[in-house]
Amino acid sequence: MFFVFHNFGTTSNFKELNHYKMKKHLLTFTCTCYLLFFTKMSLAQTTQDGLMMSKNELCLVLNYDKESWNQYWEGERLRNNPNIGTLSTQMASFMAAYGVTQKLNVFAVLPYIKNEASAGTMTGLQGVQDLSIAAKYNFFSYGKMQLFGVIGASVPVTDYVPDFLPFSIGLHSKTASARLIVHQLLPYGIHVTAQGGYIARSKTNVDRTNYYTGNEIEYSHEMAVPDQVSTSLRIGVNKKAVLAEAFIDNITATSGTDIRRYDMPLPANKMDWTRVGVFVTWHTPIENFSVNGHFSHVIAGRNVGKVEASYGAQLQYILNFKKKK
């Protein structure tokens, strides 16, 4: 029983698959959270944790998240904006994880996002964002330590508007990512997981012929979207029917401009953030069915919203395709 649960948890960690713009939570199962302004979406934690599905198990996850901010960093200056008030974002996503073998898992995530400002005249936006896929491989084990490699990619699946931040649901940029995860089991069911990765992002297309970057006008319908370095650390306990993790994670863009004072944000901005959170999954008495709740809070950032509270819940169900003996 425990074995099953353990796997289950694993499964759902999809969060970061998407990496779409940033996001991550870390704990195991969540999916989502997106962030702040400009970032939206997520991926499964799965790509950041040290848990795995068993061979031929398929985990299906429905995830809901809600987050809001009423302050954001304009460059490094934290400010409010009475013409936005509080920007609230809701996300519903569908995720799947499958154990190809005991050592190789694959994941997919597809989110729907909707946002709205409490003040000002501008319209919120909504839509299906980017499809993320990832593969996670347990390539090394030594005693109670395991190493995983994760590669992932994401692609926008709808023609949403990228250049209307902070309302755009994403940046409409393709991504490819590579991560390394170190997972160490400790006594008493405790584990520690460290993750580091690089997310490459393609240029995005904007609906105008030029834009001011802060130094010059770029006469182009294309805009460079910065790549990102992702790091995270999580500590968790997996006991009886509960898997709980606490995490801190960071996204740092490798290039990009700051939002100018009192100007609008751009997809080309350098969007960084650090968030902390918890992630708790309960494997219910119903076989193969788990529920999850998660919460996170942004503690530092640059050119992103200061999300005070991002919370979410998931339903997870595992189907087992193992041949009956």
């Binding site: 005249t121 490459a200 105008r208 001011y212 006008i217 770029e218 182009s220």
Partner: protein
């Protein structure tokens, strides 16, 4: 197999991260089809060429000239990497480059002042340009005036330059165009001086000074000028700029900002003429209307009586069927905008942090001009005609806006959410429509074969504001019609300025 997939993956990761270089559109090098030998006789905006006493140059047979030439040739044959890169930058033409520099500074300064702690707003102060709120706030009316001033300075400076070029006819290189005074240097002197007047802050001053030092010398580096060509042009360009600056200081812009007392009086006057609900600022906190007295600023191509004569008739009453119909259309787009319409809204928005709608039309004009391989002086004429028309459009439109003080659709119906920022001034008529139609009137005169596509662009620009839910259709349609009339005054000037 596994390693193959991995290597494909890492190659694609590398490709994504390395492709930050965006695809740019840029002007191609200028290769004029004509030297315009008669352009020295074209009508200037201020005075005549002989107002500027440019002395005769030394003969090419003189020892002084030969010494100059030897010096210039020495420089030209030992160019540094920086000088070579400057040559590449300026070879697209000085008029176009200085127009781009103006657009860049306008984009930089097109940011609205922030509210003070107590909810009031301070006005930018030209004496303290580097202190918040930075001076200037280069909003669309300010920008329309700036482009006109720069273009007129370039045009007048070049007409005077052409007059002296063909009067003295001194040539240094082998093409047919006389080289005294230098056209690059006169454009650098006139443009930089007017720009520094408009953008007195330390960042623009340094940027402009750098461009000036480079732009005036490229003729020497290119082997077509000697130092006296540059020096004569510098004196001429600065003198022309000073005339334009003196005009600008007295054109009424200094008091165009108004104040809340004036705003209340204008609202009252509109109510006295039958308006039921006066426009109010939807910014939080409420912000004084943008340049509420810009309608009083001097126009280029007609007088104040004409401004009043062409002011559009009153918009539909707020309780009329005509109003309800157009409000319903706005609400329809607010709730049902298509992706294509979003794209149109964004393409024409030219909002905060951009070179404004007048800047967008300058970009469009420069593309057409370069396509036609126009000479520098014909380029300057086209931009002066268009930008004076755009400035006049700004004045007439702002006069109309504050005369009628008409509320925006989302003031009347707050459930309407917009797909672009709500401008902080009254609705009727549309600035985008008026600017665009005025620009298109002039551009269609200069490029008759482009008329159909230009008309379509103006119409799309005007409708983008309806899709964005910030304008009624009548704002856009009446604005287009008025802008056309305004542009036609510049066209009439063009037909009579000697350059037709």
């Amino acid at each position: 197999m596994k390693s193959r997939i991995l290597s494909i993956f890492f190659i694609s990761l590398f490709a994504l991260s390395c492709s930050k270089e965006v695809e740019r559109t840029s002007l191609r090098p200028l290769v004029p089809t004509s030297n315009e030998p008669n352009a020295g006789t074209w009508k200037m905006y201020f005075g005549v060429a002989t107002d500027y006493a440019i002395p005769a140059p030394k003969e090419t047979s003189s020892a002084e000239y030969k010494a100059e030439l030897a010096e210039a040739q020495k420089v030209a044959s030992n160019l540094t990497a920086e000088q070579k890169s400057a040559l590449t930058y300026w070879q697209v033409g000085a008029v176009g480059r200085w127009n781009e520099i103006a657009r860049e500074l306008i984009a930089r300064y097109n940011l609205a002042p922030e509210p003070n702690e107590n909810g009031t707003y301070s006005a930018p102060n030209s004496a303290k340009p580097d202190t918040l709120p930075y001076f200037p706030f280069a909003n669309p009316p300010y920008a329309s005036r700036a482009y006109a001033l720069i273009s007129v300075a370039q045009y007048d400076a070049l007409v005077a330059t052409w007059a002296y070029k063909y009067k003295y006819n001194r040539k240094t290189n082998t093409d047919d165009l006389p080289d005294y005074p230098s056209e690059d240097a006169v454009i650098a002197a006139a443009s930089s001086r007017v720009l520094k007047f408009l953008f007195p802050g330390s960042y623009p001053t340094q940027l402009i000074d750098n461009r000036y030092e480079e732009g005036r010398k490229v003729g020497i580096w290119a082997g077509k000028n000697v130092q006296s060509d540059v020096d004569a042009a510098d004196v001429l360009g600065k003198a022309v700029a000073d005339k334009i600056i003196a005009y600008a200081k007295a054109d009424g812009t200094g008091s165009a900002g108004g104040n809340l007392t004036i705003q209340a009086q204008m609202a009252e006057s509109a109510m006295a003429r039958g308006l039921k609900t006066a426009w109010k600022s939807l910014d939080i906190p409420a912000r004084p209307g943008m340049l509420m007295k810009f309608g009083e600023v001097k126009t280029w191509n007609f007088d104040k009586a004409t401004r009043d004569a062409i002011r559009p008739a009153a918009p539909p009453a707020l309780d009329s069927e005509a109003f309800k119909k157009d409000l319903a259309e706005v609400k329809h787009y607010a709730n049902n905008i298509t992706r294509k319409q979003w794209s149109i809204v964004q393409f024409w928005a030219d909002g905060l942090g951009t070179s404004t709608p007048p800047g967008h039309w300058n970009q469009i004009a420069m593309d057409l001009i370069r396509e036609a391989s126009m000479s520098e002086i014909r380029t300057a004429r086209a931009l002066a005609l268009m930008n004076t028309a755009i400035h006049d459009a700004g004045v007439c439109c702002w006069d109309t806006k504050y005369y009628y003080f008409y509320p925006r659709p989302n003031q009347v119906d707050p459930s309407i959410k917009t797909a672009t920022g709500t401008p902080n001034f009254p609705s009727f008529t549309s600035g985008h429509a008026t600017f665009s139609a005025a620009a298109v009137s002039v551009l269609s005169y200069i490029f008759p074969s482009q008329q159909t596509s230009l008309d379509a662009m103006a119409k799309e620009a005007s409708e983008s504001r309806i899709y964005g839910a910030i304008h009624y259709r009548f704002d856009s349609e009446v604005g287009l019609a008025c802008g056309k009339k305004i542009g036609d005054f510049a066209v009439a000037r063009g037909k009579a300025d000697g350059g037709n």
